[in-house]
């Protein structure tokens, strides 16, 4: 199987490169990359699910918006996600269900606090092989 994502290093911060056979998979993998920065995904169970919906102007900013929504949900509702079903995805709107559980300090080790997905060095590429996206996070 092709790898889902990789982590890239940036002087003050950290970023991800996510891959996908299609855009849905790309968005799902980018979100998994985000949560793998925050904690060890293997320690997260699917105990709850949440309907997620974001919209934006174009594909690149939709990706930033999507990741920022998940960062917000972790910061405020303390939800760690480990799987996503992307139900619909257009150039400016995404509907998905996220599966995961509430953060439990006894169970989940927080690796870093991710505070925002940025537009900096943002790239979303599509080619015959599939899709690839780069996002830098503020931590």
């Amino acid at each position: 199987m092709k790898k889902a994502f990789e982590i890239i290093d940036h002087t003050a911060d950290v970023g991800i490169i996510a891959y996908g056979a299609n855009v849905k998979e790309l968005f799902s993998n980018a979100a998994l990359a985000l949560f793998s920065l925050i904690t060890n995904l293997r320690s997260v169970e699917e105990k709850l699910h949440l309907n997620l919906e974001v919209s934006s102007e174009d594909g690149e900013s939709l990706l930033v918006e999507w990741l920022n929504e998940l960062i917000y949900l972790f910061d405020v509702k303390h939800i760690l996600f480990k799987r996503f079903d992307i139900e619909s995805l257009t150039h400016n709107q995404l509907k998905a269900t996220g599966y995961g559980e509430n953060f439990d300090p006894m169970k989940h080790k927080i690796k870093i606090g991710v505070k925002a997905a940025t537009y900096h060095m943002l790239k979303v590429d599509k080619n015959g092989d599939g899709c690839k996206a780069q996002v830098i996070f503020d931590i």
Binding site: H10, T11, A12, Y72, D75, A116, T118, Y119, H120
Partner: protein
């Protein structure tokens, strides 16, 4: 990545110019404050490119400036200063940064190193217990929406009114701890939801609280006006900002500006530089929300200062007054301010973006507190936890050439990942202990990211701004106790 190959024209030993013709689209030249030795790593990191990119922004006047602690940021470099003329200029959330009004507050005490060393462990434990810190830390301050709205408008005064610290603290805080123009209605529900539980918390990352010992005094007259009177005196430095609240404000408004950039016909070399005219609705909305976040940060540092005083009082069995725990100053490191500056002989109203830079106003400036009218505004420059921090003052020269701005800290040289791979948190603790520094951290592994090796030497940074004349060194202190989130 290949080294940055652009031209840097030497003006003198500490000033390097990026000519306006380096890139089509630059409206002003770039000016980097650095020693020759520092240029190498700046080229390596491509930061001059970011300095040049900022020069594209409409309305920028003078230079796109970079302080010696500059490092690669999102869009704007960290350590960058840019002033835009109000009437045809833009404001850019990226020119302030995510952690709006991340800043530092310095308290003095009348205690000496000899009095504090024997109780340092107890003191650090008490502080760690009393001040919420770490990832996702939630505060002891309970606010509802109404209280949050007051906090956003009143800033540090909100905290003083509720018994956190003294009225006189406000007089020695930039803007009196309250930036005018804050409108809670311009802040999203999301930002408020993130902000409410985190009020009164230190946070994580590079935020810290340090017990310091004065090691060197460069100007004893100015130092004595600040109440720094002897080597060995204990100071307390608090470094934190607006937490998730400021991040959400920045995220929300970046998104708005991202959408309107083309409407205003602005061409940008990097999406993260998204901006809008200062006088447009989007620009005004951002400034009103940014002021809310700046005020949140001042309230945050005000509360933390109060708990620092409480903790000292408990450990030493004396009141904070008896311990002489007065505030020296509090400065913002990430902020945009409407100020008046002389540019090419003309008095202009400008929006000064300071992203990882400190205001450094000179003696006799109207915005400098009465007690510092003769010295200039105190400038607080924290270093990394294994080295030292500086107190300096603003100068007339800063006013003339850097929009009254100077450096803000050490500046990273190693990415967090690289630091973590090469350094272990436990080793950092041992190394610091061997230097006589006690550390308590929410996350030991995160400590590695903040190890000395990850930062430039702040002494070199401060020496450049001192030699260049945009601020003057007053005193240097080293940590003996550190709390990291």
């Amino acid at each position: 990545m290949a080294q940055w190959q652009g031209q840097l024209i030497k003006i003198d030993d500490y000033r390097w110019k990026i000519p306006e013709n380096y890139k089509t689209g630059m409206r002003v030249p770039g000016l980097i404050y650095a020693s020759k030795e520092m240029l190498e790593s700046m080229r390596e990191e491509q930061t001059p490119e970011q300095v040049a990119n900022v020069a594209f922004l409409p309305g920028i006047v003078g230079y796109s400036l970079a302080m010696p602690d500059i490092h690669w940021g999102y869009g704007f470099p960290i350590g960058g200063v840019a002033a835009m003329e109000i009437k045809d200029g833009v404001v850019s959330p990226g020119g302030v940064g995510y952690d709006i009004n991340c800043g530092v507050r310095l308290l003095r005490t009348n205690l000496s190193e000899a009095e504090v060393r024997p109780r340092i462990n107890q003191l650090i434990n008490e502080l760690f217990h009393n001040i919420p810190s770490g990832l996702g830390s939630e505060g002891k301050i309970k606010t509802d929406q109404k209280e949050m709205a007051r906090l956003m408008v009143e800033g540090a005064r909100w905290a003083v009114k509720r018994g956190f610290g003294y009225e006189e603290d406000l007089g020695v805080t930039e803007e009196g701890g309250c930036l005018a123009g804050a409108e809670p209605g311009k802040v999203s529900d999301k930002a408020i939801k993130r902000g409410m539980p985190q009020a009164g918390t230190l946070g994580s990352g590079n935020h810290f609280l340090e017990i310091q010992v004065v090691k060197e005094i460069f100007d004893s007259h100015i130092a004595s006006i600040m109440g720094i009177t002897k080597i060995g005196q204990i100071l307390v430095l608090i470094h934190t900002g607006s937490r998730g609240f400021g991040h959400q404000v920045c995220t929300d408004h970046l998104r708005v500006m991202e959408q309107v950039v083309s409407k205003y016909g602005i061409k940008l070399p990097d999406r993260q530089l998204a901006c809008a005219p200062i006088e447009s609705k989007e620009g005004q909305d951002y400034l009103a929300a940014m002021a809310c976040a700046a005020n949140y940060a001042w309230a945050n540092r005000q509360c933390i200062a109060h708990w620092v005083r409480e903790s000292f009082a408990k450990v030493f069995g004396k009141s904070a007054e008896q311990l002489g725990m007065k505030q020296i100053y509090d400065v913002a490191h990430n902020i945009a301010k409407i100020e008046e500056h002389i540019v090419d002989g003309r008095k202009l109203k400008v929006c000064v973006h300071r992203k990882g830079a400190t205001r450094a106003f000179p003696p006799e400036h109207k915005d400098v507190p009465q007690c510092y009218q003769k010295t200039g505004q105190p400038v607080l420059v924290p270093g990394d936890m294994g080295r030292c921090s500086f107190v300096a003052v603003g100068t007339e020269k800063a006013m003339r050439e850097s929009f009254g701005s100077t450096c803000h800290g050490a500046g990273r040289v190693l990415s967090r990942g690289a630091a973590k791979r090469s350094i272990k948190g436990a080793d950092v603790i041992r190394e610091l202990e061997s230097k006589g520094i006690v550390v308590k951290a929410g996350s030991v592994s995160a400590l590695a990211e903040e190890a000395s090796e990850a930062y430039k030497d702040v002494t070199e940074v401060v020496n450049v701004v001192h030699q260049a004349g945009i601020s003057r060194k007053v005193a240097m202190a080293i940590p003996i106790g550190v709390i990291k989130g």
